[in-house]
């Protein structure tokens, strides 16, 4: 089984002209219903082979539906069309010394629509919240072809039932997101990333101790030695070639950062300041290679309670060993695992599967060929999911198969 067993893309494409009110997308969906043509919703294409195989025969292109609709820096709120990329948002907000602190794994070419449809987040979720916490409002076109607008453009809102949360993470199976309103933050005065090598033997204690420290980092990730060498470069790696590394990101005023650094050094010994580009290298280490799918490295995540992170980490080290890049977020107990050889054996799969179950870990596929996905991914549909899908997308015309049925 190799990565080249990713399913081929559908051949027909719908491209809806950009309109302010989503009616063109509505018409495309209605036409798809009439011709019984299930659609795959596509942004930049960076998520196409992540997740479950989608049984579509045509695509609904959202990448051309892009651009910032409204940006009021004084409100720290930005509204953009779903085809706008994260890099485009970063560039627009940086001019006003602001940012959208959402750093999902994958590339900055990913679109807002994809990020929120897949509810993706990265290390900054620790400090700034996940996708569902950052989004304020959405416009979307349902699988009935009808445009809806839910939430709003203000930072607190409880008007009506929370369809924003329902649509975020729905993988395009309820509606095609057309516009997103997000809350921004001011760029921090200082933004410092420290790298702390941790001896494998003391890892479990180090994780427990870390949780007791009086510090408030906005991101903390534990990288396996092989991943640390890739992210930090060989210079750093050669000094601690076999050690996992903690990356700790501190923001705020100078006094606050210095005090936290001191607390970390009192506990762990010396820390090294590293360039903040390490975070981009880290997030691009896990993900689908759109340019060369056969080179995509299989990726999944495994989680358990945060207090059990040490055991989860060890289970993955024991199972995947030197083949894997492991990347754990301390605050939610989730370890992201990228298998560094594109070729994955059935033996490894069965070891992962059985080990996962015996450890009580929850395994979720990220970038995997469909057969591997079916074997590894633990997620199941919940009791009301089918009825919710029928309410929004009764003909199963949008992204059929993308969510557990």
């Amino acid at each position: 089984m190799t990565a080249s067993s990713f399913a081929p893309l559908a051949s027909r494409a719908y491209r809806a002209e950009t309109t302010a009110d989503g009616t063109a997308h509505g018409r495309a969906i209605m036409q798809a219903i009439e011709t019984d043509t299930p659609l795959r919703i596509v942004g930049s294409g960076t998520w196409l082979h992540a997740g479950r195989a989608v049984g579509a025969t045509a695509t609904l292109d959202m990448r051309s539906h892009s651009g910032i609709v409204e940006y009021v820096p004084g409100d720290l709120v930005l509204t953009a069309r779903a085809g706008t990329t994260l890099d485009e948002i970063a560039s627009a907000t940086r001019e006003h010394f602001q940012w959208l602190p959402l750093d999902p794994y994958g590339s900055g070419a990913s679109t807002l629509g994809a990020i929120f449809s897949t509810a993706s987040h990265g290390p900054l979720a620790r400090g700034y919240g996940r996708a569902r916490d950052i989004v304020l409002g959405l416009s979307a076109v349902t699988g009935r072809g009808e445009p809806i607008t839910v939430g709003g453009r203000v930072v607190k809102n409880v008007a009506g039932f929370d369809l924003v949360r329902l649509l975020v993470g729905s993988w395009g199976t309820l509606a095609a997101i057309t516009d997103v309103s997000v809350r921004l933050h001011a760029l921090p005065e200082h933004d410092v990333t420290l790298a702390i090598p941790i001896a494998p033997a003391s890892l479990s204690n180090a994780l427990k101790t870390f949780g007791t420290l009086r510090i408030a980092p906005v991101a903390v990730q534990l990288l396996s030695a092989s991943l640390a060498r890739r992210v930090l470069g060989d210079d750093f790696g050669s000094r601690s070639a076999t050690m996992p590394v903690l990356l700790v990101r501190l923001v705020g005023n100078g006094t606050r950062i210095d005090a936290q650094r001191e607390r970390l050094e009192n506990e762990f010994g010396s820390t090294e300041s590293v360039a903040d580009s390490v975070w981009r290298v880290l997030r691009e280490s896990h993900g689908y290679d759109a340019a060369a799918p056969e080179r995509s490295m299989p990726c999944f995540r495994a989680g358990n309670a945060p207090s059990r992170l040490g055991a989860t980490w060890q289970a993955l080290v024991d199972t995947c060993g030197n083949e894997a890049w492991l990347d754990a977020s301390l605050h939610d107990g989730i370890v992201r695992c990228t298998l560094s050889a594109p070729r994955v054996t059935d033996d490894l799969l069965s070891r992962l599967g059985s080990h996962g179950l015996s450890q009580g870990m929850q395994v979720i596929g990220e970038v995997l060929p469909p057969p591997m996905f079916a074997q590894l991914d633990a997620r199941r549909a919940r009791p009301l999911d089918g009825a919710l899908r029928r309410a929004f997308n009764p003909h199963d015309i949008l992204n059929p198969g993308a969510m557990p049925a």
């Binding site: 409100d75 009086r214 309670a305 557990p404």
Partner: protein, 469 residues
């Protein structure tokens, strides 16, 4: 008979059916709405709760879940239907300090949870002003906020899982206390559903580390506009205060005349109560920056609370402000609109003009940091002319907030009170999808009927699906 079937579950002591016994439950914290339930039932355990809901299902009986009845949208009112009181389910089942998670029954009082978490160096962050009485279940139903949600987030950001008994009596777990959720974010959908989707039997909430240090400032201004400008500049500075509250002179006078008097300056046009918290190191820098901003925006004075007692007093004045309105007049209408922060000066000026034009007393006390307004109008509800002016003024205020790009409710919920504004905010399609979602949870529309979404917005989907086939 419904009454006897319910009595068999909870015991006759925990059913109320006489009119005199039901009157205490005919309103929530808004004096303007009174609806008498047909009867009220108070289960004492989760097993009793589930059995009660199943019995209601067997009788096809509508019902309204209710916590402490502190709501401000008329959401927990039962109009000749069964009132289901959750306040007896008040156990804190477990606090998992290692994972910062608390497992509670829905009737646990918000402030009590924070007190119980404090020996672990933790607290429950969402702090609605009613927190000494309101319950976690109610907080979940309304997606409650509070002053400290500016930094810490609202209830939605703190709920990890909810076990729900659906109106048909079946149980469903939404979210996952220790892992990622399978399927759709139905837990996110349930938070803020105002009792229309079912009843929470268990709630798992995240706890947050108590901040190492706190500083509370009081700044007073000669004009509301100056205070509003200070708010914008504090937000733009990059500092995220833990809380940033504003009160106008009318409110300050009401508070200072009451038992909640906090020592606010009576001659200020507006005051700002600003709190920063976090690590001790660097906190003074934030205080200095905020003080400088306030002064350059025109603050007459900026005072720092010196002791815990002073801090508590400053907060009591703010949190009990609605209660203090009772000294001014016996009835109160209060709104909960949220506007973009950059529109605050313009909206506050508009509210002032509307109040003068209709000859009503508007008292503004609100969460300035996130643009969540609370214009309060105390009035005499027995005076029909004043009542008419008050309601006309509030309609205009709401219209101004909506046209400024705001929303009709930031934390109190729609309930009954804001039902009529829903179609100003949402299109027919959007309202129809809200109805459709509700029908997934409660196909017979028995849970808190008539709230949140206007009934006329609900379509019959069968007809639409047939047309498309």
């Amino acid at each position: 008979m419904l009454h006897s079937d319910l009595a068999a579950i909870v015991g006759p002591r925990w059913i109320r059916h006489e009119r005199s016994e039901l009157i205490p439950f005919d309103a929530d914290a808004l004096p303007g709405y009174r609806k008498l339930p047909s009867l009220a039932v108070f289960p004492g355990t989760r097993e009793e709760l589930v059995a009660v809901v199943r019995t209601l299902a067997r009788h096809n009986a509508p019902f309204v879940p209710r916590g402490a009845g502190t709501g401000l949208s008329g959401g927990a009112l039962a109009d000749n239907v069964v009132l289901l009181g959750l306040n007896r389910l008040n156990r804190i089942i477990d606090i998992d300090a290692d994972n910062r998670l608390a497992h509670v029954e829905p009737g646990v009082v918000n402030a009590r949870l924070t007190r119980a978490a404090s020996p672990y160096g933790l607290h429950y962050a969402p702090d609605p002003s009613s927190q000494t009485a309101c319950t976690i279940g109610g907080n979940v139903a309304e997606n409650a906020g509070g002053p400290h949600c500016l930094k810490y987030g609202v209830t939605l950001n703190h709920v990890a899982a909810v076990n729900v008994v659906l109106p048909d009596g079946s149980e469903i777990m939404l979210g996952d206390p220790y892992g990622e959720t399978d399927g759709y974010d139905t837990m996110g959908l349930f938070v803020g559903s105002e009792g229309c989707f079912g009843v929470a039997t268990d709630v798992w909430v995240r706890l947050v580390t108590l901040p190492e240090a706190v500083r509370t400032l009081l700044a007073d201004f000669d004009s509301i506009e100056a205070a509003a400008n200070a708010v914008s500049r504090i937000v733009a500075s990059g500092i995220v205060p833990a809380a940033l509250e504003m009160m106008d002179r009318a409110t300050v006078l009401a508070v200072e005349a009451s038992i909640y008097a906090a020592g606010y300056p009576r001659d200020a046009a507006a005051i700002l109560l600003c709190e920063v918290d976090g690590l001790e190191a660097g906190l003074q820098d934030d205080v200095d920056t905020i003080s400088a901003i306030c002064r350059s925006a025109g603050a007459r004075d900026v005072k720092l609370a010196g002791t815990d007692a002073e801090r508590a007093r400053l907060w009591q004045g703010r949190k009990k402000a609605f209660g203090a309105m009772g000294r001014v007049a016996p009835a109160l209408v209060v709104q909960d609109a949220v506007v973009p922060r950059t529109k605050l000066p313009q909206i506050l000026a508009a509210i002032d003009e509307i109040g003068r034009r209709h000859n009503v007393r508007v008292c503004n006390v609100f969460h300035a940091g996130d643009g969540n307004l609370h214009p309060n109008i105390p009035y005499d509800a027995t005076d029909p002319l004043e009542s008419e002016r008050v309601h006309a003024a509030m309609k205009e205020v709401m219209a101004a907030c909506i046209s400024a790009g705001g929303t009709i409710t930031g934390e109190h919920g729609v309930g009954l009170d804001k039902l009529d504004y829903m179609s100003s905010l949402f299109t027919d399609n959007s309202l129809a999808m809200m109805c459709a979602v509700r029908d997934v949870f409660d196909p017979n529309r028995r849970a808190n009927p008539g709230k949140v979404v206007p009934v006329h917005s609900c379509r019959e989907w069968h007809a639409t699906a047939t047309a498309l086939a």
